[in-house]
Assembly symmetry: C2
Homo-oligomer: 371 residues x 2
């Protein structure tokens, strides 16, 4: 059995303090009792976290790599996240910067079902950046949303996603929306010979997620959008592993921002929007692009894309999907920044095109092709 | 229909900037499109967030109260949280400090099933602080954990909870643990004539939560512990509203620390460990006590307790449950700080008493009675 390890960045005034804090984390994340009362034998030797290394990064920053037993986790994702950062999330000056699953947990958490290659195969876009308009706004009726989706699919979108704010509102309830938009996109696909994937946003109560996802599949949807910050990362894993569903999953960062925005708390951007999404089984990971309405830097965005696509990461490489304030004007810059293996979201700015929304999709396709 | 409102603290260089950011939030959390393309009529008038007030607090801090339509939410908790803070969680210098449900959503989200009075009735402790030892450590077998639970119940514990790190590990799988410890606590209750509530920690994959909770009930457990940071807040709501379960729920702060530890991000302590727990339907809200291993201040802890018990809050008042590094020595100070309506957790320090663990419970009871 191979232990897994988590690397924490500890902000401390001295090496002694960093060592002491690392020893505290090793207890906190496992037995959660003082060292002097840890039972000898199996619990002390196997269950308590083990400090594998501590290195100073400079400027009062230390990297502590702590290994844990797969026995602490069994095969449950909530408990794996609990060991990685459950109680330690409540400690200041501590950030998770790395995760190595080891061979034992790599078997239990195989990651994305499709990944980059699988999504490309389904969307029949073997190379080049992928274009994904977002249909909105909340409050629109189903016919309006279906019309937008139809025009976008006809114009060459690779995928179409629901806005993450479209859930089960009476104006466009999930099931009605899913049926009508799936049909509209299927009609466009018949006309173009294409394979645009419509991905509705899984709504409902958390316990309903699989039911909604299966409903979407039955309608002919090409995948689903899931919000791990609200439904839990395990909702993603559940769908990714369910044989009766078996479609790509796109994760959205709603409610997750607080984990990354402080330099000294939570997770790095790459961990949250790359590693953890791969761990859960996402195929496409949405994150806010630099220069939009959110405060991610170019370096942070590139680190996310790298973590999504790193061949040494968990399971299959997945597609980073920058969004938020993206427009056709910025397409070339974005392609230069992210390369080909990315899903470029186009959001609210599309609505400025009105009935000519298909033109915007074509412009985006051209810009990507020329970049 | 009555709109609900969220109060955000915006950190801004000027009133103009604060106004502009508030207007951005009102769009971001609803239609997520630029103002100039918002369709007129219902969407502009009802769906888009409305700035109800903006007031300067001083020092570059502004309080913006924004109201939203219940139509944006329907009756789903993930979507309510999505409107409150979904995408805005990804914005810097923004913190959620208040939530007023309004009458429409108050009906849809009635809060705790038991609350302070209900839990006291079940535990037959009409007045005075309640004592809740935590059984651990992870890696122990079921017989060892059941023996600790038996001794604690016999000595007068009001409730006994699983450590949040006990899930489904092979050393003490949930179902076995739940059966054996429920039986041990029932035996102690028969001997004392008491009504100590055993609350196992809901394990498994997220989709299994209700199944595990029902299993616990069938074993005779007195409630369950749930981790909303890992299973999602809606898992709590689901159990709180399920008629076939119908037992108290204790929530644990695992994985939620990143939402409160920065002054300029996430939620206030009172919102996260008071308001949101009540919204989801928790009866007892655990949080890290001042002076333990975590960095909450006395004022932050008191604000949590106040938010749990405020009669103007969502649904029934609930029990704050300070824990983490609590010991018998600190009992009197804790009772002076939190008053009677609280559940005092006793954790790893209990294990120092070994077979005499019951003495620690009695000492704690005495200290509370004398405080």
């Amino acid at each position: 059995m191979s232990r897994f390890s988590v690397t924490y960045r500890i902000f401390a005034a001295s090496a002694d303090e960093a060592n002491e804090r690392a020893a505290g984390i090793a207890l906190e994340q496992t037995v959660e009792i003082p060292r002097d009362v840890v039972p000898r034998g199996y619990i002390a030797d196997e269950i308590v976290g083990q400090i594998e290394s501590i290195a100073e990064e400079g400027d009062g920053r230390y990297l502590a790599k702590i290994s844990y037993s797969p026995d602490s986790v069994s095969d449950e994702l909530p408990q794996l996240l609990n060991v990685i950062f459950g109680n330690s999330s409540i400690q200041k000056d501590l950030k998770v910067v790395g995760l190595e699953l080891g061979s034992t947990l790599a078997e239990r958490f195989p990651g994305a079902r499709f990944g980059v290659a699988g999504v490309r195969r389904l969307a029949r876009r073997a190379t080049g950046g992928m274009v994904c308009p977002v249909i909105k706004p909340q409050g629109s009726d189903v016919a309006t949303l279906a019309d937008i989706a139809y025009r976008c699919a006809l114009a060459g979108a690779d995928a179409i996603k629901d806005d993450h704010g479209l859930t089960n509102q009476s104006m466009a309830p999930f099931k009605q929306r899913c049926e009508k938009i799936s049909a509209a996109v299927a009609r466009a696909n018949r006309e173009t010979g294409g394979a645009c994937l419509y991905m509705p946003n899984v709504a409902g109560q958390s316990a309903d997620a699989l039911g909604y996802a299966r409903f979407a599949k039955d309608c002919g949807a090409g995948g689903v959008v899931v919000l791990p910050g609200l439904f839990g990362f395990d909702a993603v894993r559940h769908l990714a592993r369910d044989e009766t569903f078996g479609l790509p999953i796109m994760t959205h960062p709603s409610f997750l921002g607080s984990y990354v925005l402080s330099d000294t708390l939570g997770f790095t951007h790459a961990m949250m929007f790359g590693t953890l999404q791969r761990l859960a089984g996402a195929d496409i990971s949405i994150f806010p692009n630099v220069g939009g309405r959110f405060g991610f830097s170019a370096a942070e965005c590139v680190s996310i894309a790298d973590a999504c696509r790193d061949v040494r990461g968990i399971g299959r490489p997945i597609l980073p999907s920058p969004g938020g304030g993206m427009s056709v004007d910025r397409a070339r810059d974005m392609v230069r920044m992210y390369g080909d293996d990315a899903v470029f979201l186009l959001g609210g700015s599309l609505l400025r095109y009105g009935d000519r929304i298909g033109e915007a999709i074509k412009l985006m396709r051209d810009a990507i092709a020329e970049a």
